[in-house]
């Protein structure tokens, strides 16, 4: 006990004598941070700068000699191209629909799981499972095992009740992709919202209950305001992941039937059409879109973060 309290006092003068200079000490503090920081800048920032540069060139990989600087021409082409504009719209639709649906479902499930009942742990495990399937495998499951018009489970079950036998993916392609993503992302939202529910002030809830507040009133005036930031966090993190979704679109519809979103379009325009300049311009536009979302996301995370730091 005495050792820990007196040691720093006696050690301080010795240490200051040994310290060569303030600048060296600062570098010693920064040292452990540098490898990670340099690595991140090299691997993530430099390629983006390169994308930015390439986006100003007319460059088809099949005709490398015809490469030339075109200024903003790629951007003009991307923004006026009907297919690309459609893929921007698809991206927005896909992201908003999946995030909203999985948030609402996730909230309902979190509220159900917040109460005590027999087998709660088992139900929680069952609900998390869809999130822990490899995304391509999940997409294959929906495409072949559930949606297939001939032998899929959906039409099989409809068969029992004498219902119609729709071709799910051809009739409602975007909805088909969205449903599979909602299935995977609802558990994610549920986990975040459940953590939010369990961090409520129990004393405050109990006081409200003693004062005669109804279940709805407690939910509306205590739970929901408390959950607001968790809802925002779930929505924003979900948006960041789903805006970038490639696996489900690639697997279920291969970008066909009007389901090509921006990541798929970028992939296609350089991997199949070899249009490097156009692909880069589209990529830069995806980044601008993400920055808008990310600015909000960072604000939410930092407010939660500051609360954690001040609480500690």
């Amino acid at each position: 006990m005495t050792a820990t309290t007196t040691a720093p006092l006696t050690a301080t003068p010795v240490r200051t004598m040994k310290q060569p200079s303030a600048r060296l000490r600062a570098w010693a503090t920064r040292g452990p941070l540098l490898p990670a920081l340099v690595f991140m800048i090299v691997v993530t920032q430099l390629p983006f700068v390169a994308t930015l540069v390439i986006s100003f060139f007319d460059w088809n990989a099949l005709y490398p000699k015809a490469r030339r600087f075109t200024g903003l021409d790629n951007y003009r082409q991307v923004l006026t191209d009907a297919d690309l504009r459609h893929s921007v719209w698809t991206t927005v639709l896909l992201t908003v629909a999946v995030v909203l649906a999985s948030l609402v479902l996730g909230l309902a499930l979190a509220l159900l799981l917040d109460r005590r009942f027999r087998g709660r742990g088992v139900v929680r495990t069952l609900l998390i499972a869809p999130f822990l399937v490899v995304p391509v495998a999940a997409a294959l499951l929906w495409k072949h095992v559930l949606y297939n018009p001939e032998y899929g489970l959906f039409n099989g079950l409809l068969h029992y009740v004498g219902g119609p036998q729709p071709d799910w993916i051809s009739h409602t392609p975007l909805l088909a992709v969205e449903a599979s993503l909602v299935w995977q992302w609802t558990p994610f939202m549920m986990l975040i919202l459940l953590a939010g529910l369990q961090s409520r002030d129990q004393q405050q809830m109990e006081a409200a209950r003693v004062d005669g507040a109804s279940g709805w009133q407690i939910f509306r005036y205590l739970t929901l305001p408390h959950l607001r930031r968790y809802l925002e966090l779930g929505a924003l993190l979900g948006s960041i992941y789903i805006v970038q979704n490639f696996d489900a679109v690639f697997t279920i519809t291969s970008g066909g039937l009007g389901t090509a979103n921006l990541p798929y379009t970028v992939y296609q325009s350089f991997y199949q059409a070899h249009e490097n300049g156009l692909a880069s311009a589209a990529g830069v536009l995806v980044v601008i879109g993400s920055i808008v979302i990310a600015t909000f996301a960072l604000r939410v995370v930092s407010s939660l973060f500051r609360e954690e730091v001040s609480r500690a």
Partner: protein
């Protein structure tokens, strides 16, 4: 009296609803597992055959005894990419998190948010230059390129998670070790690591999951030699006659490591996925 009975009855009612929801969400997976044990002729029936006899043919077919491509190279590639990148992430993130929590640099929150912002930069934004670089450097279809990319993909998450775990290590203990003359590596290995170990393990598991799942980089940058398990699965995108049991077996086997890692990290899963914002 009657209100408490009502409340209890409503409580069990909602418990049943929760059970029902859990079963509905799990049903596609359960059906996939059941189908993987059916013969191909029983798997592709309408109405579905729930009580068909069980067989391991789907798994035999998947593992290549039926003459198809063997999944083992892909599984080994995925294991190498995921495990090695996770080790690299830990080696880079642990000291960084130390410099952001225990002995913080100036403006450490700014640095922390820089890491987070890189996570928000979409993958497609850097894909083309990385592809061109790999092509010119002769690194296409090379598993080590994926190791580098997966390390960069997971490093921000790991730095955030570890920062929040290391912040829980009491400063007094570290001070005591420092006074006793322990140097940085010793402090990290002997003092910090043991306390933060559960958190470090969870971080590793989450990084492993993200690397194992990744498709876009692997699809664009690998071909024959360095193909990973998700790329192998994309071979099932177009249906090829009777193959449902095989698809189910393949999807299940390839998802198994993720399911195992996910359930092992269950308690810290939210914290990892929310980048440490939710505890």
């Amino acid at each position: 009296m009657s209100t408490t009975i009502l409340r209890i009855r409503r409580g069990t009612g909602l418990g049943l609803v929760a059970w029902l929801a859990g079963i509905v969400f799990f049903l596609p997976l359960a059906w996939m597992a059941l189908t993987s044990f059916h013969s191909e002729t029983d798997a592709g029936t309408n109405p579905p055959s729930f009580t068909a006899s069980l067989t391991l043919d789907g798994y035999r077919e998947f593992f290549g005894t039926g003459g198809g491509a063997s999944p083992w190279p892909a599984l080994i590639n995925s294991t190498v990419a995921s495990v090695v990148s996770t080790v690299c992430v830990l080696l880079l993130a642990l000291p960084a998190a130390y410099a952001l929590s225990i002995r913080p640099v100036k403006k450490w929150t700014d640095v922390l948010f820089f890491f987070l912002s890189t996570k928000m930069l979409p993958v497609v934004a850097g894909l083309l230059p990385i592809y061109l670089f790999a092509k010119n450097a002769g690194m296409l279809d090379n598993i080590w390129l994926l190791v580098i990319l997966y390390t960069s993909m997971n490093l921000p998450i790991a730095v955030w998670m570890m920062q929040s775990f290391l912040a829980e290590v009491p400063i007094a203990v570290i001070e005591a070790a420092r006074v006793d003359g322990a140097r940085l590596p010793t402090i990290l290995a002997r003092v910090v690591a043991p306390i933060a170990l559960p958190g470090i393990a969870a971080t590793a598991l989450i990084c492993f999951i993200f690397s194992w799942n990744e498709l876009l980089f692997a699809r664009v940058l690998t071909g024959v030699v360095a193909e990973t398990a998700p790329v192998f699965l994309t071979g099932f995108i177009t249906s090829q006659g009777l193959f449902l049991a095989k698809v189910c077996a393949a999807s299940l086997v390839i998802s198994l490591p993720v399911l195992a890692a996910g359930f092992a990290a269950q308690d810290k899963l939210v914290q990892g996925l929310s980048l440490g914002a939710v505890k």
